[in-house]
Symmetry: D2
Subunit: 294 residues, 4 copies
Amino acid sequence: MKDVQNHSATKSFALNRVGISEVLKPACIQRPDKVVMLTARIDLAVDLPSSLKGAHLSRNMEVLTEIIDNSIRTPAESLESLCLRCAKGVLEKHEYATIAEVSMEAVYFLERGAKPSMESYLLFAKAVCSRSEKSRRFLGVEVSGMTACPCAMETLREKLIEAHGAREILTRLPVITHNQRNRVRIDLEIPEEEEIEADHLIEIGEKALSTPTYGILKRDNEAEVVLQAHRNPKFVEDVVRDALHLILQKYGHFPDEMQVRVCSESEESIHKHNAFAEKTTTIGELKKEFNSSL
Amino acid sequence: MKDVQNHSATKSFALNRVGISEVLKPACIQRPDKVVMLTARIDLAVDLPSSLKGAHLSRNMEVLTEIIDNSIRTPAESLESLCLRCAKGVLEKHEYATIAEVSMEAVYFLERGAKPSMESYLLFAKAVCSRSEKSRRFLGVEVSGMTACPCAMETLREKLIEAHGAREILTRLPVITHNQRNRVRIDLEIPEEEEIEADHLIEIGEKALSTPTYGILKRDNEAEVVLQAHRNPKFVEDVVRDALHLILQKYGHFPDEMQVRVCSESEESIHKHNAFAEKTTTIGELKKEFNSSL
Amino acid sequence: MKDVQNHSATKSFALNRVGISEVLKPACIQRPDKVVMLTARIDLAVDLPSSLKGAHLSRNMEVLTEIIDNSIRTPAESLESLCLRCAKGVLEKHEYATIAEVSMEAVYFLERGAKPSMESYLLFAKAVCSRSEKSRRFLGVEVSGMTACPCAMETLREKLIEAHGAREILTRLPVITHNQRNRVRIDLEIPEEEEIEADHLIEIGEKALSTPTYGILKRDNEAEVVLQAHRNPKFVEDVVRDALHLILQKYGHFPDEMQVRVCSESEESIHKHNAFAEKTTTIGELKKEFNSSL
Amino acid sequence: MKDVQNHSATKSFALNRVGISEVLKPACIQRPDKVVMLTARIDLAVDLPSSLKGAHLSRNMEVLTEIIDNSIRTPAESLESLCLRCAKGVLEKHEYATIAEVSMEAVYFLERGAKPSMESYLLFAKAVCSRSEKSRRFLGVEVSGMTACPCAMETLREKLIEAHGAREILTRLPVITHNQRNRVRIDLEIPEEEEIEADHLIEIGEKALSTPTYGILKRDNEAEVVLQAHRNPKFVEDVVRDALHLILQKYGHFPDEMQVRVCSESEESIHKHNAFAEKTTTIGELKKEFNSSL
């Protein structure tokens, strides 16, 4: 039978990425203290030389299925290691490919709050496997919380003092400002011999916001969250920088070339549009910047 | 040639709605004071008797195309009249159908703010045409603005007074609370001989919120918006009820059977989930409720 | 402390639905043969009398959290029973409400295919609890598969015969046509003393399509799927009607008043827009229609 | 008044991108032969040095509003020049920033088809302005059309011949296969002194697919579209490579450093997931590859 995919396409181009996207799979992860079932959304790609017409995409699903469906029987140690095993498996099956990349995204839950409740987060894992270089793994999280605007707070403090006097009390108190949902995303490359905890990245995200947010807030808890946000007002720029500081504290010993990306997006309550800040860098650059700022 | 669609399907069922969805078309509307170009997303449906296998969907697109593409040359008088003309046209082409429904959705802009800027809204129009009853038209809008929570404000007022004294000043001043984006949607059925303005529904939505929001806010404008929101704190329930009062004031003379729906959804800054309130009713029921509450 | 939510709002309106939306929770279900972990997206609403200003939304999350977070320790018997328990719990907590509605949506997986692989589906569950009437439960599924167009196939059969002759062979063979992804959704009300299986609704959806689709398709399997689709070409109208027949066969003994809704949406490969068909009815009406068509 | 945004943040990090996202604006473009009204979705970012706490985001909206709202009175010459003017304006207002980037996305329509109808496409424009380097402009389009799978067609040809004989006729005829919606996206950097037409990129996208698709298809047109797709079966890899060849033919005289990206994503009718192929390169690299393949 004619093998259409191996047919040599004359005058053709090599392709950077050929693969499958939006694959949904249940994935099971065994963490030290718990088993986690995730509904993972998966993308997978390999490169394709100019000499080949097609990338045998059905093999990709065989690899994903064998490895991920199997995690239900034997849980994987982490989402990023599941990505790595898939990327390795794909590279083995596609002898022509020189690089394979697998990424996964899933909703994840942790118990939080004065009235404990399962709070939702997003996990992002990625592995890149190449024939010539060391494999790379990445773990990311997205944390939804609150920011209160420090700028509007100071403007309003002055306005209220102007209109009502009471400078002494208004200088000491948190003053009204706009606050809103803010999604902070943190992505970190993981060195070969290390493991990191998604829960630690989530904690960094929660600390970088004006305040984390919670499903259940009785009147007193709600007041504390609002108070915490207004005592800790932050721009999107502050959220990113504070997360970067916390990353340096916890992962500053990682090799210089490890990549870091932090992004904060604020669904501004005073605007119909969003505000955002982003830094893409490496652990080495981050340390250099930090040291030069001392 | 075999006409598969007219083929009588034995032992079959009548269908309520058969049609096309997610059609994108440019539509041009001539208002008294301006010409508006919209990118409309359109759904269209007719009923299908049990005796027919298929609904000749290509005719639907012919009708839509003839009527809507033509609006670029000769603007239509309104989005809902464009829906009505399409529904009528579809009913003429499908002699078997007894009812046709066409709905359209589009982003719409109005100039707003102390520093004028084009602000975005959503328009929703719908027409239902039947062989046995009068045609019906509906117009809806979605307005994005801000709500500040009245409940957290009162809790925090007490807490701050408890901790800092200064009862006199804190009783007079707006106090910190959570605030957030709130989308209020208003849908109203339009009587046969009347026309309504989307701009008026948008104004009702803006008034029903704690405050409208704006693209450009210099420091002073930002302070005013924040102050306005905190002087006018509202639950989602308040937004819906205040919009209903404004609808009664403006459209209370409409026939009793005209339908009204108001929904407010708040993207809570203290939670990862939303809060919402909704009322679906008629002008007649609304008047009855209002009078009995006097 | 001032209770803002109980404050009687004068001249106010009763609201049909006040609640929370887009809550994410992990939910655990124990089926006869397996334990299923779901990432559920939850909406919840109660009605609110005109005499009350606010609906105490924090109580809703307490109920959801207590009942759903608890399913992780003690799995629930089904997603719809989880909805029902939440709706009952919410009604108990809101003494003013006369009706409570809870709905959940989740991605769900079943092993399928000649090369077995976990295939994804959507589950929808809903429960409505009222003080005056019997509680109601609903279960729904969305199945993604393929439809091939019967109309274009017949047109092309004629055209190809016209151009190439070979009438005999072309009359016997499936001929080229457009085919595409089709999502069929089935929702069924469940009688009080009955339980139904989501897996059975999924099977009905898969049978109603031209063919189900699969993650892994080696060359032979792919050919069989394509062949099956072209031997079984279907309009969206056919998908809905065939699903309705299968529902009658399996659930025709359900009480007449049980609600049924089937919708098929085809992401037309020859158009940029979709085609859809829908029927909303009851078991009783469906039986009546079926009998009169005999 | 305290200027919170200029406050020097000690021990801080420079940020790559600080800005606003999901801004909606009406934009008006004057092309040689027509005036086009677009509903643009806009993102804007500048870099922020470590010495500054905040990026004065309100100035961004002033620039966008002045330039884009003004296009309604005096249409801009193109979407990418509108981006460039906004990026330049933002860089002027933010004396601390060294680079500004503005991107816009909009639905766009062209008349197409045997039965002419407005067909929808997506436009993407981007401009990057820096203090030290030449400004860069990019234009992109997304075209939705159809691909038919060449691999399944050959498998089925063999199977059908095996089962039914008639090798002679089945070798000459297009045979059944799976076909589906395919979105091809083309992005091209535009040299300083050149202008390109979005309509030409759209034509390239349409030619690269198995066939473009249309809103209105009467029986004969539908048959032609299906026939065209099956006479021209393509993998996602083929779509990308064919678009790259067409880009070289039309824009091969562009400077070597101009960037090119082509991506094709197929919403596979036989799978629940998508297949995709992508190439990111430059005009120079593309020419080199092409010449070496001769």
